[in-house]
Every structure is written in structure tokens, then in C-alpha cells.
Symmetry: C3
Subunit: 384 residues, 3 copies
């Protein structure tokens, strides 16, 4: 390998980092390829990674777990992104994948809770509900962004998917699968089987094996995939865009699992990552994406991950009469509760929504001083 | 008939059209008659028709179905409008019937879900809840209008009526009737009887008969009347004010029915107009009232009618543990989801809330250019 | 007693009145004592009394009913106030007790609905949930204050406590006590036992005895204490700060009880003050705290107390599938419904949130004219 090719390899690897603005510039003139490119960014945006390679690896992870799940996510991201184009929504936001991530989750969610897979009816449902999630993204954005300066996160996915599942109860062709199981709320208490185990009625696994599975599976559980391999591929995808975010993902999942273990949650659910998948997205959001990473914001992110884990249990109980999944509502409510108060405290350095890129980049901009963050009090933290 | 009287007849007919500003001017100096006049406008405003003749014909339609229903609606509109006067709320809004339509629906709603009819206690309940709906109209207006530039629609009716029905569960004199039937949510699926039929356990009617009944009954079902005759009288009332709105009402009801049939809804409910009554108000709202009618806004109205029909099923399922009716919440949520995003897209020409009159008038003003719509970008659609 | 000491006694008594600004000034330089002082103000703020003596007497009342309840309230107010300091929230608000009252109620709420008392786990839960209530106070404040100009009231307490109780359903160490009893909603109707009685299955007491107990117990029921003695101590505490507020508390509780009796509520619940505890806080809020007291605002406060009583029944029914308590949500929703519309009517003289002190002081400032209320239209009421 001569110096030049080594140079090119290094340059190629470097171009994968962060939000990859070079790719956006190059593809702008080629609409078809560009559409694929920002659909991939849309998938990455589920975990705030505005990076097409992250998106691609997430899809690979989902496909490895289940081709139907991976295909449904692709269909969802395409339908919601195309809807944004048809509605004439802000082009910059569309190209950043911001009208894609809810649709991708809608696809994955309906693929999981409806059945049978690959049916024509479900494809139609995914397209319709993903398109509706784009409407809700615009509507919730108009409600939250100008005044509270917080984004709608994955609320559009949650509202659209839950609305459809509830509607499906009442009709003959609703295709609701067995994962939706209505039951009366009960206080189970000490009878809950807290032993970490792989199968519902199976025997307990070792603590280390159980905890590692719990933390790692949480990563892919966000995408409705329950697989260690998928989780590792997804973590690799996040790593390409942001090392800090990847670290907070693992940390957040661990804090969610720890909360579940301390409270005495059902060990089967803990093992399969249900206590981690909301907490880790909260940790990534607070610990570097919407606040510049400092020791204080790291502690704040940890607190938010714990609260989010509690809210997972809260929302599961609220939804039990209809047997609905909590989806990512715990992450949405937990993160918004910690984010909306941002202007009332001088403790954290907020990142203006329109300038969100990667945790690494936010730290770099903060270091350079005030002017970088649109003239706001960007060095408040430094000065203290 | 000489020329003069013919002239006068034509002039009388013409004065019935649109929002009839001449009547408002003439009656301003006669408070008692004026009160009757704007109470009638209030009834018309249930379907966005700011026209006393529309209101009168709607009341006739309700009375034909059930004198108790018609009387309760009158009591409700009087109580809520009088409350607005007592609270000193904006006179222009009161005279446009904007503090009446929720009260009229409260009257009709309580008359339907409480029993027995004509009891003194129910009259008191209607007056109190209708007055409270006026409070909620002011409060929700203060929340939605200045920032999101959308009106509260019939949310005050829904919140006030549902709050009262839920309170009535817990007290001896709640008078809750048999139409409120709490039951656990279940996924019924393919066992649902989708055959269009007039009686719950009756035999199926022909498709044409069934579909026509479904579409037409939807019109009066909004007013808690289940009657083809009432529906035709109400359509005639809407026709007086706006031909476009009347067309969208029928179209919207048809789209709701089509959605129900495609999803496999209970054929008894479809036949009686339950799948159409929310969808048609959404179609009227989007297709001409809040957006200027164009081909694009017509398609948008159709999409909103379909989403609203889905939300009817959603909310019915959500409410099943308490056995509550969905009322017009599906219309409110569906229309707001499509309306709040209006400033994010250049595809549609919004009508500023304070300048809403009739779909016909909106098209006329748009044709005359920018200046007419308060200097906003009123010709955006034209320029494209 | 010479003239000087008599003078000093009078001066001491006078210094107890209103919001006691002298105490705040004196204690500013002694952080530890100051912390105690504004924690006590926090307890007083539960009933809008920014006065440490009121807070102290409320705690005495709670301790008299149950030392565990009193201790839990102290722990909650300390945890939530300390959290506000750690988060760097507005010092003036912290010193007015505004980050304490939700935490005090969280402590009392969890002490009541979890068990066993005095367990280490519950102390941890109280600290965590009280701290979270401070987060919610900041977040809801950021949502409501700048635009709607209304405070979050006790919504943070309600959301945090209900969220934790729901989460506790799903875990082994949730410690949910027998007062949380999930059951399917039912329309009980005329079978409800409306006779006023002290024990669930006991015999009816006399009307006067029953009604007096109902009204008086309502006062302490707000603080999760069910005791006539505690109620009298609390009323004495309120009296120190504001005679008007004390009168509206009794009046509001009476209106709540009257509403319950007229509707035919369960006589056991009425006797124990459940129909009064929300209504009285609504009456205090509307009748002097957020509106300057006039005959009109007094009538408005009475209407709000009645609506709040209805909402107590509403929310109890909504929560029955999970068996959750209504807490103070009826007060929050009732008061906000009557408060948010304040700028739409000229009938009442609103008190700007940042200038809220005591009903007496508001009347005094209004008398002095426009300039006193930050230059707003403060004499609107006078001029009419």
C-alpha cells in the first residue's frame, strides 16, 4: 500500500465521522441517490445520529434479527420521508432525516404488533400510518419548537402507532397480534419473579450473563429487535458517528437495567432489554446531544435515565387495560421533563436545536467560545 | 306575481346566503330578537355555518327525530350563550355564535346519555354543563388561538360532557342511561359482524341501501339524531349557507363509511352513521373553511376524513373501560392534527381564523389577491 | 407588662401577618436557618400562604394526625427544596417556598399510599420522587408561565406521585398499600349509600354533625390527614397569614360538600372531607389570590368550587381501573379552567403572578390604583 492509497483510506474513514456534511453536498444534485441517503439518515436519527452509515448499520441489525422487521422499517422511512416531500415541508429538515425516523419506527412497530408478516394489508397500514406520523411531526413541531425550543422526539411514532393499534381492536381486519394482550391492572408485588432468565418460565441465568444480556439487548430492543448481534451492529453504527453517544447508550441502558433490578422488576423483561431501551436514548439525548457534555450534564443524563426507567413501568401499567406496549413514550416524557426546563437553570449549556450535530462537535464549538453558538451565552459553563 | 314581489322574493332568497351580515346589522338594536338570532347562529356553527337559517333547520331536524333532543339543544345553546354574556366575553364572537355551538351539543349529548327525558334534574345538569363549556371555550381559546392560530373546535363540548358523565358514575343522582356501558377492551377481530344492518341482531340489508343510509345518517348522527329525514333537513340548512360545505359534508361522510367498510367495522354502527359523523366535519373544516378550497386542499380534506374515521375507532377503544361515547373527539384531534402544521407548508392557503366566513367567500377573496387576507401571503397558491 | 414589652408583643404579632417580608430579610445572611425558613414557607404554599408560621402549623396538624405523615412531609419539602438549590433554580422563587410545596405533598402522598411506614425504602422513594417534582415544577413552569401566565399549581405533585404509584404496580418492591384498589368502572347509581357516616359500614350520624365533620375534615384531608383537630390547627395557621383566605377555605369546603350531598355522593366519603379538600383550594385561588377579591370574583370562586367538586368525581371514575386516588388533580384542572381565560374578560381584576402576596394585600394595592400592579389595567373593576 503506497502513501497515496493509505492517505485515501484514512480520508475515507475520516469522512464517515460525525454528520458527514460532504456526503450531503455531493449527493444534492442526484435526487434518487440523495433520497436513499436521507432515508438512511432518518434511520440514524432514531438515536440522534444524523449519519447515513449509522442508519445503514441499524437496518442491517434489524434485518439480521428479522428480514420482515428490517423491510418494514425501510418501507416506513420511505413512506414518511416521501410524505414530507409531497407536503412541501422544510427541505433542510427532510435531508437531515428528521421526517424519517418516526416512519421507520412505525414500520418496525406495526411489523411487530400486527400479524401475519409480509401481508399486503400490513404494507398498506405501514404506509398510511408512517405518512400520518409525518403529519404529526409537523404538527407537534409547530407546537413545541417555536416556544419551548424542544423537538417532538419520537412522539409522532408513539401517537400514530398507538392510535392505529387501538383502532385495530374494533375492526375485523385489524390484524392485532398476540403481543397485544389486554388485562386488568393489578398490584402484583413480591410475587413477581425477579430472577434474570431468557425464557418466560425458564430457569435463572448467572448474574453476569443476565446483566450483560439485559444491557446489550436494550440497544436493539429500541428498534423492536431482541438480539445481541443486532445490538452490536447498531452500536458499531453509532460509533461511526459519535463515540460519546455510544458510551452514553451503553451507560443509559445499564442505568435502566440497574433501576429495574433495584425495584424488583420481572427478570424476563429485564433480561430482554425492556428496562434499558428507553433509558439509553434519554441518556444520549441529555448527555451530549441537547446539552453540551460536562460532568454536570453527565450526571443529569444519568438521573434522566433512571426517571425514564421508572416511566417505563408507569406507562406499562397505564396501558395494561388495553395491553398496549409502552413503545418509546417513557423516553419522550422523561427527556422532555428534563429538557423543557433548560432555560431556567444556568447549570447546563444547552445546544440550540438548529445547531445540533454530534456531542463531540458541540464540545468543540463550546471550546471556541460564544460566537459559535449563534451568539448565545455559550460559555456560561466555562466562566463559572 | 308582479315584478316587484318577484324582485323581493329573489332578494330575500339572496339574503339567506353565506353568513348573512345584513341580519346581524338589522337586529343589533333589538336585544331580545338578537339573542335568538345569535343562538341560532350558534347551532349552525356546529358545522361552521355562521348562519341563523342553518341553525334553525338543524334544530328542526333534531326536533323531528326527538322533541326532547331538540329542546335540550335549545336549552344548551341558550345557557352557554347567556353565560358568555354574563362573563363579558368578546361580543363579536358571541354574536357569531361561537359561544353557542358547544352548549347546543352539551344539551344534545346529555339528553342522549342521561335519562329519563324531560326530568327537572337533567335540565339543571344541561344548564350547568353548558355554562361550563363556555368557560372551557374561553380557556381553550386563550391556549390555542394566540399562538397556534387554531380554534378549540368542539373540544369544550367533549371535555365538559365527558367530565360530567364520568362524575355521574359515582353519585346516586347521576342519571346515567343504558347507552353508557363500561366493558373491558378486547380485540374482537374477524368475528365482528360486518354486514350492514338496521338492527343490532337483524339481517343484512342491500349494499346500496346500507351505504346510502350510512352516509346520510352520519349527517344527523353528529347532532345525536339517527334519522334520514333529519339528515336531509340539516343538509338543506347547510346548503343555504354554503354549497361547497354541503358537498364536503356528504363526501366526508362517504369517506368515513368507506374507511369503516374497508377495515371491517361493525355493520350496525356503519349503517347508523357512526363512521361518518366525525369524518364529515373534518372534511368541511379542511376542505374550504380553514384552508381555501383548491384541488390540493380537497385531497388534504379527504385524507383528514380517513384519519378521523380511524380515530373514531381509536377513541371508542380507549373509552371502552368506562363505556363512554367518542362524541366528536375524533373530529377535534383529526382536524387539529391537519391544521396546526399549516404554517410549515406552502401547499395550502390558510384562512386567518378571524376572517373565516364561508368556503365560497374564501375563494372569492383569494381571487382578489393579497390585500384581502389581512396582508398575509394570500396568493401563495396562485403564484406557484 | 410595661408599655415597651406590650409594644413588642403587638409588634411581634403584627410581624406574623401576611407574607412576613421582615423574616426573609433578617434570615438572608444565615443560610441554615434560612433553609428551614423557606422550607416552612413551602409547606404554607400548599394553600398559597407564603408564610413560615402557616407552614409550621400545617406540619403540626399533620404530625398530630400521624407522626409518619408529618415526617414524610418534612422529608419531601427538604428534598424538593434542596433539589431546586442544586439545580440552580431562581433563588427568589426558592425562598418563597415555590419549590417546596409539591415535595411536601409528595412526601405526604407516598406516606399514605405506600407501606409499611418508616421503612428505609420509602424514605428513598420520597426523596427521589420529591426531587423529580422539582424538575416537573421547573418544566411545567416553563410551559405555563411565560405564555398563559398561570402557575403549575400542584400538578408536579400529582404527576410525580401518580407516575411513581403506577410504576410501583409492576415491581416487587413497589410497596403499594391497600388504599390503592384497582376495580372496573361501574355506574352504581341509586344504590349508593348517601347517609353521612363515620365508618364505611356504620350507621348514619345527625345531619349537623355530619356536615360539620365533612366541611372541617376537608381542610386537613388536602394534607392527607383526616382529623378535626388537625383541620383546626391548619385553619389557625392560614388565619395568621390571611383572614380572607381562611374564610374562602371554609366556604369552598362547604360548597364541595353541598355539591356532593346534592348529587348523592357516598356519605362515608363526604363525611371524611373528600368532597371538600379540592374545592376549598380552588375557592382560595380564585377568590382573592389570583383575582382581586370583589363580589364578582367571590361568585366566580364559588362556581369554581362547585366545578372542582364535580371534577373530583370525574377523576375518581377515570382512575378506578388502577384504583388510584384523585389527589389534587380536580383542584388543578378546575382552577386552571377558571384562570387561563382571565385576559378574555373585563369582569375580574387579575393579580400578576409575580405580584401575588395575600388577598388582603391585593385589595390594598388595587385601592391605590393603577401604578401598583406593574402598570397594568389595575383599576378596570373600579371604573365600571
Amino acid at each position: 500500500m503506497d502513501v497515496n492509497s493509505a492517505h485515501r483510506s484514512v480520508s475515507l474513514l475520516r469522512s464517515l465521522d460525525g454528520v458527514m456534511p460532504q456526503w450531503s453536498e455531493r449527493l444534492e444534485s442526484r435526487p434518487a441517490l440523495d433520497f436513499v441517503h436521507y432515508c438512511l439518515r432518518g434511520v440514524g436519527q432514531i438515536v440522534f445520529m444524523n449519519n447515513p452509515v449509522t442508519g445503514l448499520l441499524i437496518l442491517v441489525g434489524m434485518w439480521v434479527f428479522s428480514p420482515w422487521l428490517g423491510f418494514a422499517a425501510v418501507l416506513g422511512v420511505v413512506a414518511s420521508t416521501a410524505s414530507a416531500l409531497i407536503l412541501g415541508l422544510d427541505r433542510v429538515a427532510v435531508r437531515a432525516g428528521l421526517y424519517g425516523f418516526n416512519g421507520a419506527l412505525v414500520g418496525a412497530g406495526l411489523a411487530t404488533f400486527l400479524e401475519p408478516p409480509w401481508s399486503g394489508r400490513e404494507l398498506v397500514y405501514i404506509v398510511v400510518v408512517a405518512a400520518f406520523s409525518t403529519m404529526l411531526m409537523a404538527t407537534l413541531g409547530a407546537m413545541l419548537l417555536p416556544r419551548l425550543k424542544v423537538p417532538p422526539l419520537t412522539l409522532p411514532f408513539n401517537f400514530a402507532t398507538l392510535a392505529f393499534l387501538l383502532a385495530a381492536f374494533a375492526v375485523a381486519h385489524g390484524d392485532v397480534g398476540p403481543l397485544v394482550g389486554p388485562q386488568s391492572p393489578t398490584v402484583v408485588g413480591p410475587e413477581i419473579d425477579t430472577s434474570l432468565r431468557a425464557a418466560e418460565g425458564g430457569s435463572a441465568v448467572g448474574v453476569v450473563e443476565g446483566v450483560v444480556n439485559a444491557i446489550v439487548r436494550g440497544i436493539s430492543q429500541l428498534f423492536l429487535a431482541d438480539s445481541v448481534v443486532a445490538s452490536l451492529i447498531i452500536l458499531a453504527g453509532m460509533f461511526v458517528c459519535s463515540r460519546i453517544a455510544t458510551a452514553f447508550a451503553v451507560l443509559g441502558s445499564a442505568l435502566g437495567v440497574a433501576t429495574g433490578l433495584l425495584l424488583g422488576a420481572d427478570g424476563y423483561k429485564v433480561y430482554h432489554g425492556f428496562w434499558g431501551y428507553n433509558s439509553y436514548v434519554s441518556a444520549v439525548a441529555i448527555g451530549g446531544v441537547f446539552f453540551v457534555l460536562t460532568w454536570r450534564s453527565a450526571l443529569f443524563a444519568a438521573a434522566c435515565a433512571v426517571v425514564t426507567a421508572l416511566l417505563f413501568a408507569t406507562i406499562s401499567t397505564v396501558f395494561s387495560p388495553w395491553g398496549l406496549p409502552a413503545l418509546t413514550l417513557p423516553f419522550c416524557f422523561g427527556t422532555l421533563a428534563f429538557l423543557i426546563m433548560k432555560e431556567l437553570t444556568p447549570r447546563f449549556q444547552e445546544v440550540p436545536i438548529e445547531e445540533v450535530t454530534t456531542p463531540e462537535e458541540h464540545r468543540r464549538l463550546l471550546g471556541r467560545g460564544e460566537a459559535e453558538f449563534g451568539g448565545r451565552d455559550a460559555v456560561g459553563e466555562q466562566r463559572e
